[in-house]
Amino acid sequence: MARRRRAGPRVTGNRSSRILGGGGAGRSTLIAAVSTLVFFGILAVIVVNAPGWPEVRKSFFDGDIFAESLRDITPKLLVNVRMFLIAEVFILVLGLAIALLRSLPGPVFFPVRLMSIAYTDFFRGVPTVLVIYLFGFGVPTLDISGVPRSEFFWGIVALVLVYSAYVSEVYRAGIESIHPSQEAAARSLGLSRTKALRFVVVPQAVRRVVPPLLNDFIGLQKDTALVALIGPVEAFRQSQIEVAANFDYTPYFATALLFVAMTIPMARLTDWLTARQRRRMR
């Protein structure tokens, strides 16, 4: 099989033209603009004329409460940021470890592979909220000396356990996507299996899975809100407090916007990396 670079199926056109539907630039931009205006115009008319709209507007979109709650909630968002930054470091390591354990060959390692499979099956299957409850309330109740009691700590532990299961599957897909001839080439030079993985297989696999990995991290970023259920006052918890104080749901809307703003950079980075990789693969 010729491994020379082939003119593979090229992505035609740039992205903006694809969003706009392709074709002649000027005319299709106009059509897209008119269509968008009409679509959202109709949507707005329906919502604004709904019988309950004045009620909704008062209790979800109150300008003063919005400004006030944004001021109070934004600092608490830093708690979420700290949680996911700490969690991500451990997830990257634990996820890779689980994926590597699962790839160990031979009958001797059957129990190890079995444990790795059981781990991913379990933690992908259990709702994240339950894991957070079990660790946040369960472990501190055991009252073992030396074991931290902080809900912040156990919240992160729960997120690390759940997301490592997802991320290990991403890594595994990456490792399996590297052609066996790469490992054969490394082994043929006298490298041990461990060194072949470390220098040849894993570096290539990781490069390949960066976009799906970041995608999982977007999920993680917003799931930090679930940790609020065991106590720590982060952005979502703070918004609940604001809602209770004002008898008004606007703080929820504010928090939603904050979370979206927080995840958008990661989403754009993921898109950019994916596009770059597609260009490189050719």
């Binding site: 491994r3 080439a185 043929s188």
Partner: protein, 247 residues
């Protein structure tokens, strides 16, 4: 003592027996070419010598030591045997220099400066010196394959296995790779070469082995195999090669 010796080697993949009792010896500094149709077992034979595939029966001796004995350190055996693959199999995430120095540095623990000096020396010999910092995808197929050969040579092997190293190349790039192999042969490298380049095999080999259905059907000096083959199957195979304009 032979550099490599295969005794009654058998290898199956599932139900399919690919090698059905191979006896073969390559003498020190010898060049043996394996010819035969695709699927005749040439690649599998080479991969077995390098312990990339485990054999089912028989013995393989390299430099007089049985490498197929139980509890042999396969990594240690492979250090002394270079193999070059049809599809080059360079590491795409590493520069040419890093491709070559990886194994000397990680396996032989050669200090970085020394490993790089040796690599540059080899690259220079094969006209690749200015490619040291390029990634493999920037190189032509012929250049990639020459780098793959250099990568294997950097481990200073006593034996080189070449597995159809020109089969993936554009015709105009075949020559540069064959020249490298000629140079190795002139330097006394022991080589076991699976190839479809009959003209080349005839020129370079001390002995040619015709593989058919997992056995060596016929072997001998190139003149004998190519001009006066004894077996009907060999004649048939060579006839088809001639008809395809490859000899």
């Amino acid at each position: 003592m032979s550099a490599v010796e295969l005794q009654g080697v058998r290898k199956s993949f599932g139900e399919h027996e690919v090698l059905r009792g191979i006896d073969l010896a390559v003498e020190e500094h010898g060049v043996v070419c394996l010819i035969g149709a695709s699927g005749s077992g040439k690649s599998t034979l080479l991969r077995c010598v390098n312990l990339l595939e485990a054999i089912d029966e028989g013995r393989i001796l390299v430099g007089g030591d049985e490498v197929t004995a139980p509890r042999v350190d396969a990594d240690r055996v492979r250090r002394g045997i270079g193999i070059v693959f049809q599809a080059y199999n360079l590491f795409p995430h590493m520069t040419v220099l890093r491709n070559i120095t990886l194994a000397p540095r990680e396996v032989l623990k050669t200090p970085r400066a020394e490993a790089e000096a040796q690599a540059l020396d080899l690259l220079g010999r094969f006209g690749l010196a200015e490619r040291r910092d390029d990634y493999p995808d920037r190189l032509s197929g012929g250049q990639q394959q020459r780098v793959a050969i250099v990568r294997a040579l950097a481990m200073r092997p006593q034996l080189m296995l070449l597995d159809e190293v020109t089969s993936a190349l554009d015709p105009e790039l075949v020559g540069e790779v064959l020249n490298v192999i000629r140079e190795l042969a002139a330097g006394g490298m022991t080589m076991l070469i699976a190839t479809h380049e009959m003209g080349f095999a005839r020129e370079i080999a001390n002995r040619v082995c015709f593989l058919d259905g997992g056995v060596i059907l016929e072997q001998g000096p190139p003149e004998q195999i190519f001009t006066a083959p004894q077996e009907a199957r060999t004649r048939q195979f060579l006839q088809r090669i001639v008809e395809a304009g490859r000899l």
